[in-house]
């Protein structure tokens, strides 16, 4: 039942299309089994036979006094009937396409939407390649299943059913004889396609190995050449290539045996029907035109039988694909049951005894963090890698949720707030920002689609990016990412700053976001930004003491706890971790000469 739901839930809202398509399809199969009756009727006309089995109204319609006239009417009726059939067929196919594409569309959108709403933790652990596979290949598998296989099963079952009905109207014994081999054909096909899947997998693995070898050899071509290992590489590749060929040949032999032997069975069935049919016709059990009709009908049963076995045998593929898709769409969105509270945020921040720990960790990443920030203040957070700086920030925008304590913006606990509202008000500029594969212009404009050219150029200028962009061949229209230029780390960081400038935020976080920019540009940008963001509460994570020293308040984190807090002067005076850092970094110039002598 669960499977049933899994198979059909994606059809929601489109079932009526499916129902109409299926109904037309069933009629079409019935009509198809009528076509041999026209042939029978023609033979009846020319041999003066009786009762062709055509529906009564048609027989009356084409009744005429001479054989020639009858034939003309029959031929005409046949063509009109065909036109009727193909029109229905086309309509059925169109409905089918609309139905299928709507489902694929829904699936893709659902997957994309869900993925975006999955938690930060989920994305940190996700494997991109695998997820994409699910969103593309697995969707395609289901699309084919719904659009082709499911409908094909229906079609084949009804075609076989109607054919049997038509056959038994003529002669029951010959009908049974005509069905003798069909269960065998079905099961052989079913078993084969279930079995061969395993072999397919082996072949795919062998091909995968070959492709990996190829890829490695190409990306490592420098090593190959420098070690003069061309021959070795060629032999290695050829070995994998041959191995793939061998495995594939195994599959080929199986395939040849299967198709050859099922063809044999199908033809034996033809032979049985023909042989018995001849005997029965000679003995007067059936007429000659009935014999001909049987020859037509037998083809409508045996070939579909094999096809049916194949589709049923392939069922497993769809199940696997749907399971993999469900693993994504059944995940809970981080916005599920989110609060609708959207209080005004001005920039007062309050941390009260905040602590955080990952479920599978034995030590907390942060504990007992308490501090207050007034609107418009700047706070620098310093500390070694792993001291908890990034976690602190992730808590502030609820990429992670603190287990203990509270974080309040303007007196409201952020857990009571609407998440998206919070993030809209708290801007963050990451150390390694992601740029979308569009133009540089679009990447900046992304924060405010109504921004005009001047605004965007201005933002880029403030971020010291305008001149860099001018050097690109296509300027602002330069594509970023896979299909365009690769921006340097510093350029990416500056794009991230520029886009943030297009939006007013009461709180801003710089997560080491100028680390890849040289010191001079860093200062230049910061001076420009200070003017821009006078009234903004700013958090700065940095390793550069010169950056930190200008902040109103400096928080020094160590092993997840606040080790020191205060302004530059007081901390230097205190003589702790900060003072030490200050000492090292500010005296580098002086120290260098003495240290260098040590190296010598």
């Amino acid at each position: 039942m669960k499977r049933f739901h899994q198979f059909f839930k994606w059809m929601k809202g489109n079932k009526r299309y499916y129902f109409i398509a299926a109904t037309i399809l069933i009629f079409l199969q019935y009509f198809r089994t009528l076509t041999p009756l026209f042939v029978r009727h023609a033979i009846d006309i020319v041999t003066n036979g009786e009762d062709s089995g055509l529906p009564e109204f048609l027989v009356e319609l084409i009744a005429a006094d001479t054989a020639a006239k009858q034939l003309l009417l029959l031929a005409f009726a046949y063509v009109v009937f065909a036109l009727f059939r193909v029109t229905l067929m086309f309509i059925r196919r169109m409905i089918n396409a609309i139905f299928t594409e709507r489902i694929a569309y829904n699936m893709r959108n659902k997957l994309y939407g869900t993925l975006q709403d999955l938690s930060y933790t989920y994305h940190s652990n996700a494997e991109t390649g695998d997820l994409i596979q699910r969103c593309t290949t697995d969707v395609e598998t289901y699309r084919v299943f719904v659009g082709e296989q499911l409908i094909e099963i229906l079609r084949l079952v009804f075609l076989i059913g109607f054919t049997i009905y038509q056959m038994q109207r003529m002669d029951l014994t010959l009908t049974f004889i005509s069905l003798a081999m069909t269960p065998v054909i079905f099961f052989v096909a079913l078993l084969y396609f279930v079995y061969v899947k395993r072999i397919f997998k082996e072949v795919e693995e062998a091909e995968g190995k070959m492709t990996t070898t190829l890829q490695e050899s190409m990306t490592g071509i420098r090593v190959v050449k420098a070690f003069a290992k061309e021959e070795f590489e060629i032999n290695k590749f050829n070995k994998h290539s041959k191995d793939y060929m061998k495995k594939d040949t195994k599959l080929l032999v199986l395939m040849a045996i299967f198709w050859g032997s099922t063809d044999f069975m199908i033809l034996v069935q033809y032979g049985l029907t023909a042989g018995f049919g001849v005997v029965m016709a000679v003995n007067g059990y059936i007429t000659a035109d009935e014999f001909v009709a049987f020859l037509y009908y037998i083809g409508m049963i045996v070939w579909p039988m094999r096809q049916l076995g194949r589709i049923v045998g392939d069922f497993g593929k769809t199940t696997v694909a749907l399971d993999r898709i469900d693993e994504i769409v059944l995940k809970e969105s981080e916005h599920k049951d989110d609060s609708t509270l959207k209080p005004r945020i001005t920039g007062t921040v309050e941390f009260d005894n905040v602590g955080f720990q990952f479920d599978d960790d034995d030590k907390p990443l942060l504990k007992g963090i308490s501090f207050n920030v007034h609107k418009g203040e700047s706070i620098a957070i310093v500390g070694k890698t792993g001291s908890g700086k990034s976690t602190l920030i992730n808590l502030m925008i609820r990429l992670l949720d603190n287990q203990t304590g509270t974080i309040k913006f303007d007196g409201v606990d952020i857990k009571d707030m609407n998440k998206k509202h919070l993030r809209k008000n708290v801007g963050i500029i990451m150390q390694e920002p992601f740029l979308y594969s569009r133009t540089v212009y679009e990447n900046i404009r992304i924060m405010n689609r109504s921004a005009n050219k001047e605004q965007i150029y201005k933002a880029a200028s403030i971020a010291s990016l305008h001149d860099d962009i001018g050097k690109f061949e296509e300027g602002y229209e330069t594509m970023v990412g896979e299909r365009g230029v690769t921006l340097s780390g510093g350029q990416k960081q500056r794009v991230a700053i520029a886009r943030m400038l297009l939006d007013d935020k009461p709180v801003l976080i710089f997560d080491d976001s100028l680390s890849a920019v040289d010191t001079e540009t860093d200062i230049q940008i910061r001076t420009a930004l200070d003017k821009q963001w006078k009234n903004t509460t700013v958090f700065i994570i940095t390793h550069r003491i010169t950056t930190a020293m200008e902040a109103d308040k400096i928080i020094v984190l160590d092993k997840g706890e606040i080790a020191e807090m205060g302004n530059h002067d007081s901390l230097v005076k205190k003589g702790g971790i900060y003072a030490q850092l200050w000492d090292i970094q500010s005296n580098v110039e002086y120290d260098f000469k003495s240290l260098d002598k040590g190296v010598e």
């Binding site: 033979i43 169109m94 994409i132 420098r222 080929l252 925008i397 990451m430 992304i446 090292i584």
Partner: protein, 609 residues
């Protein structure tokens, strides 16, 4: 993942030259082609004979009213069944074999060529492009030339055979029923083209959708922090809506094609019913001949759609063939002269018995170099390096460090001037000779899938486990290796993905050390590793450089302080040269670079603690 968008179809007409070349590769399995074709031809013949058998039954047995000829009928039937089934087997085996062998041969040839091509080729050609040639193009081509060719033959023989039999049996009726043929051809051409275009559009949309999925996943954090979910979703929705529209449109053409063919076939049937029926009434033919015609009409139309499909795919395959041939016939820009190959062997078959020992003196004599159409990177560059000397190259990106190294490795050759190794122009000896004596340790070390043992041994295939361990110990890789799960048999994963950057570097040092090269190139790493590993690497470098001519492209100046000579490069010229203390004493360019780096290093260290 790559999203190469390229023309899947050539606009050019049928290109005989390309196909001739491809067919020449198929010569070696001519036997399979002939047998496969014969099998499929005999299949089309038996397919044509079945309705005739039924006519025989109708006339000679049912018509005669006795079963005298039944045994003969059944005998023939049994014979045909066996023939058909075995021919199906034979044609599948042979078609499949052609496909597999052809794609194997194509891969083999292309791969061999890839390794004969000089390094410059890889600077211009993305790996993704090469991968696409080697996988999808070779697959397309071999599929169409095996299954496609065989299906084409079957369809054609079937249609031609039926036409012949029809004409033999009754010319007039044959002419009447086949009068729909021109219409059939026109309709097929029209639809084929429409369908082709429609699906091409869909494929493009599809790759865009994949791209957005990729972006949605890779950029999830950024999207969240910028609250761009809704906006992104709308963009995505626009694309999937387009996709839906185009898909339905494509389905319309495809959905119209089959019914149209079916209708044309029905018109032919209608014609046969009327005119054939009249002939029967007039006593010209028997009703069994009418049956024969009706049966043949069904069979005649069966391969039509398949044929149209195959012809369209041939067009597509020609594009694949053109690209593959262009790869296989790609000319190497750097190659040994026939005389050199005669004496020293080529890139794949070395003649080691004729090789002189390489001592390690390297001399640039008035070398000028420019990449393809670019500006001159080196102008009249001269440098004399004694055997065993260690040289460090310092300078900004574009100063010419990599160029010098590329020239020494003969990845490129001087535009003018000569490079001498042990006093002899290196072009007078083979590339294989040079590379076999050369070691190269890379900035971003590249390992191959396989065990750590395999990777170290890459430098010397005949090395024993003891030798490998010794090399690993020397570069201090031994400790981390034995701590790994399977020791030296630990799998490194694709491209070495299971090891950390630092570990990869250590393994690559061991690999270089075991090869015992006379000249060693070290493109020093910039990637940050923890302090402990960095110290190990530092010591490893010193060990690897000992007693050989070495060139180090230095990014971290602290690693080269003990070099015999440091060359500071700017715009392809040496502006300072000397030992570390010489240059520090100068208090000029090198001094500035060094102090700056020292500063950032301190900041970096305070970060890691």
């Amino acid at each position: 993942m790559n999203y190469y968008e390229e023309e899947e179809y050539t606009n050019s007409k049928f290109d005989l030259v390309v196909w001739k070349k491809i067919f020449s590769y198929m010569k070696e399995f001519k036997k399979h082609i002939i047998i496969g074709l014969l099998a499929v031809i005999s299949l089309s013949i038996t397919d044509i004979l079945y309705p005739l058998m039924n006519v025989y039954a109708l006339e000679q047995i049912i018509g005669a009213g006795n079963l005298d000829k039944l045994p003969m009928f059944l005998g023939f039937y049994a014979f045909f069944i066996l023939l058909t089934a075995s021919m199906v087997y034979v044609f599948i085996i042979n078609a499949g074999t052609i496909q597999r062998k052809l794609s194997y041969v194509l891969r083999e040839k292309a791969f061999k060529r890839l390794h004969e091509l000089p390094f410059s080729y890889y600077d211009k050609t993305p790996v993704g492009w090469i991968m696409a040639r080697m996988t999808s193009d070779s697959r397309n081509l071999s599929e169409i030339l095996s299954w496609g060719l065989i299906d084409l033959t079957w369809g054609l023989f079937m249609m031609i055979g039926i036409t012949i039999v029809m004409f033999i049996v009754n010319v007039k009726l044959a002419l009447i029923t086949l009068s729909v043929l021109p219409l059939l051809i026109i309709v097929s051409i029209y639809f084929r083209r429409k369908i082709l275009f429609a699906y091409r559009k869909i494929r493009k949309e599809n790759s865009k959708i994949t791209g957005l999925f990729n972006e949605g996943i890779m950029g999830a954090k950024t999207t969240k922090t910028l609250v761009l979910e809704q906006q992104n979703f709308n963009d995505f929705d626009r694309l999937t809506s387009n996709m839906k529209r185009h898909s339905i449109r494509a389905a319309m053409f495809a959905g119209l094609y089959f019914p149209t063919i079916l209708f044309i076939a029905s018109v032919a049937t209608g014609l046969a019913i009327y005119y054939g029926g009249l002939e029967v009434v007039n006593g010209v033919i028997s009703f069994s001949i009418l049956y024969l015609f009706l049966a043949y009409i069904g069979q005649f139309f069966e391969p039509v759609m398949q044929l149209a499909n195959i012809l369209a795919r041939f067009q597509q395959a020609q594009a694949s063939a053109e690209r593959l041939i262009s790869l296989i016939e790609q000319k190497a820009e750097i190659f040994d002269t026939p005389e050199v190959i005669e004496k020293y062997g080529d890139a794949i078959n070395f003649k080691k018995e004729n090789w002189e020992d390489l001592v390690g003196a390297v001399k640039f004599d008035n070398v000028t170099f420019k990449y393809n159409k670019g500006e001159e990177v080196l102008t009249n560059f001269t440098l004399d390096v004694k055997a065993g000397e260690s040289i460090a190259l310092v300078g900004q990106t574009g100063a010419g460090k990599s160029t010098i190294v590329n020239l020494i490795c003969r990845f490129y050759e001087p535009t003018t001037g000569t490079i001498l190794i042990d006093g002899k122009d290196y072009k007078d000896r083979s590339i294989g000779w040079l590379h076999d004596n050369l070691g190269y340790v890379l900035q971003s070390p590249h390992l191959f899938s396989g065990s750590i043992f395999d990777n170290i041994r890459y430098g010397k295939p005949e090395a024993t486990l003891e030798e490998v361990i010794e090399a690993a110990k020397l570069v201090e890789a031994h400790d981390f290796i034995i701590k790994s799960k399977d020791g030296y048999d630990t799998e490194v994963g694709e491209g070495g993905a299971k090891l950390s950057v630092g570990e990869k570097q250590l393994v690559s040092f061991a690999r270089a050390l075991i090869a015992d090269p006379k000249i060693l190139i070290l493109d020093e790493a910039t990637s940050s590793v923890d302090t402990k590993t960095e110290k190990s690497i530092q010591r490893a470098i010193e060990i690897v450089l000992k007693d050989r001519t070495s060139f180090v492209i230095a990014h971290r100046l602290s690693t080269i302080t003990s070099s015999d000579r440091i060359l500071v490069l700017e715009d392809g010229k040496v502006i300072e040269s000397g030992t570390h203390s010489d240059l520090i004493a100068l208090e000029n360019k090198y001094f500035k670079l060094y102090t700056n780096q020292f500063k950032s290093k301190v900041i970096e260290e305070s970060k890691n603690g």
